[in-house]
């Protein structure tokens, strides 16, 4: 219980730290809105003279981006991972070793605290943008499903946990490599594409789509968007179970990687 309290305090501190940089949070959410707007520019041109593409109309596509882009923005573990790598390289990682805390649990608690602030800002921005779209044309957006929304939350939470575990593993690669910045950028690009935040995974060929459904990445953007739009509820139980398995597997991998790499850590005085 005392340990749980310690990590709760870490999450609360991360949340307060993020709140201290309010302009960053709000402008970041504003940029999410800009991404949705720019995606609409592209898709309006693609849709010119067409009723539907990949089974989606322009309204469904707009609603998809409105959810997927903001859902993908919730993850803050990528930034925490870069900071962790910086601490390892600069010799400031010792603070985790000197205190009775588990670095992985610390990492997840900090990412969770930051993501909560981002979630509040993203939700506000998504609602404002959705309202603006409805004011322009009440029939523009596809209707959301309340059941789908309830189903999307655990999926999104498990997806974020899986991504956080991947980010933790990339962060601790700094024990072995001088600079993991390029690796982080590459990983972020790939994950963004595989999550469906760049374009709906429903447009992919069926083989690629089925292969992606076996990974945790669609849970970051595509799957929550589909569920909220009332699609994809039929295989829900299987997807949730698969995500839980991924989370457990990644957790074990993160533990094993830390055990094999942390012995290389050196800092002044060690």
């Amino acid at each position: 219980m005392r340990a749980a309290n310690a990590y709760f305090a870490v999450a609360r501190t991360a949340l307060s730290d993020r709140l201290a940089w309010r302009a960053d949070v709000f402008l970041g959410a504003g940029m999410g809105a800009a991404r949705v707007g720019l995606a609409l520019v592209l898709w309006t041109a693609v849709f010119a003279g067409r009723e539907s593409i990949g089974g989606m109309g322009l309204g469904t596509m707009a609603s998809y981006y409105l959810i997927a882009v903001f859902a993908y923005q919730l993850d803050q573990s990528s930034a925490v991972s870069s900071e962790l790598a910086g601490e390892i390289r600069s010799g400031r990682f010792g603070k985790y070793l000197a205190r009775p805390v588990d670095p992985l649990a610390w990492f997840l608690a900090a990412a969770c605290g930051r993501s909560l602030v981002q979630a509040a800002a993203a939700l506000g921005a998504a609602l404002a943008l959705g309202l603006a779209c409805i004011l322009v044309d009440p029939a523009y957006l596809a209707p959301a499903s309340a059941l789908g929304l309830a189903a999307a939350l655990p999926v999104l939470a498990l997806g974020l946990l899986c991504l956080a575990l991947v980010n933790y593993m990339t962060g601790i690669l700094a024990f072995a490599f001088q600079d993991i910045g390029a690796f982080q950028i590459g990983k972020n690009c790939v994950v963004e594409f595989l999550s469906g935040a760049l374009l709906p995974l429903a447009l992919l060929p069926s083989g690629a789509r089925e292969a992606l459904e076996l990974t945790p990445f669609p849970a970051l953007a595509s799957l929550p968007a589909e569920l909220i739009l009332g699609r994809g509820l039929e295989g829900y139980g299987r997807e949730l179970a698969l995500l839980a398995l991924w989370a457990l597997g990644l957790w074990a991998c993160a533990r094993a990687l830390y055990a094999s790499l942390s012995g290389r850590y050196e800092e002044m005085g060690s």
């Binding site: 940029m31 720019l38 041109a45 600079d179 390029a182 590459g186 963004e192 374009l199 447009l203």
Partner: protein
């Protein structure tokens, strides 16, 4: 300043830039890991960009009148510009906010070389130049697939447009980092830039119409970067298009210089 002095100053700046690039090349040869990592990451970004268009064209025949091969040419041009600016000044300008906030800028101000150019080109990254090879392959292959036979003039116009867009990209990168003279964190500006660059490179020029054209080709001219060289090559830019692009680049270059000077005036060095 007289024309002779200006010419001398420009020649000296160019010589200094070339020296910085030579130094970085020697260092890159010694650190093969960082050399190849930049190339691999850039190639990955390029593959994802190509995959986005590939998926779209699996579902439609054209985007705003641009068929598959015109878009492949656009992707090739985007990759070429991306590879060139990543190798020339991208990494140098990324370090600009840190140089300002830490006081490292002092070192550049005391040297007899334009501090902005010094900052920008000191991290020349030759690894990204390799990205030009797949980019040029795409450009040549799409031109052949379209059955288009460009003459020397079209090729010269294309190269001129690419050079012009590299200058514009330089201006835009500097402008996005100048708030570091007054603000502690630039996370939101970085996010804005990333979103603008990403979508400007992903949205074909034909998609911008009406007000959007004004916004993304004049006010926030990220929409010009890959689209304008494509239009110049296929002859759809016209005299008006060239005049507008030259005007936009000239205006942004002047604005960048002015804003940089004002930033320097507000700069408090570590010793002040």
């Amino acid at each position: 300043m007289s024309a002779t002095r200006r010419a001398r100053s420009a020649t000296r700046s160019l010589r200094c830039v070339l020296t910085l690039m030579k130094t970085r090349l020697a260092r890159a040869a010694a650190e093969s890991g960082s050399f190849w990592s930049a190339f691999i990451v850039d190639s990955l970004v390029f593959c994802i960009q190509a995959a986005v268009f590939w998926v779209i064209y699996l579902n439609v025949d054209d985007i705003g009148g641009w068929d598959k091969w015109r878009s492949v040419f656009f992707v090739g041009t985007f990759t070429l510009v991306d590879g060139l600016y990543m190798s020339l000044y991208f990494f140098g300008l990324l370090g600009m906010p840190e140089a300002i906030s830490s006081g490292r800028l002092d070192l550049y101000l005391t040297k007899p070389f334009d501090p902005l150019l010094h900052l920008a080109f000191e991290r020349f990254n030759p690894g990204s130049l390799f990205l030009s090879l797949p980019a040029l392959t795409l450009v040549v292959a799409s031109t052949a697939a379209l059955g288009y036979r460009p003459g020397p003039l079209e090729i010269a116009l294309y190269l001129g447009a690419v050079a012009l867009m590299l200058l514009l990209m330089f201006d835009l990168m500097v402008l996005m980092r100048l708030p570091a003279f007054r603000l502690k964190r630039l996370g939101a500006f970085n996010a804005a830039e990333s979103a603008l660059v990403e979508f400007a490179f992903r949205v074909p020029g034909s998609a911008y119409q009406g007000t959007l054209k004004l916004v993304f080709r004049v006010i926030l001219p990220y929409g010009l970067i890959a689209a304008f060289p494509t239009e110049a090559f296929f002859g759809s830019a016209g005299l008006g298009g060239w005049a507008a692009a030259l005007g936009v680049v000239a205006a942004f270059t002047a604005l960048t210089r002015l804003a940089w000077k004002r930033g320097l005036a507000a700069y408090e060095s570590t010793g002040s």
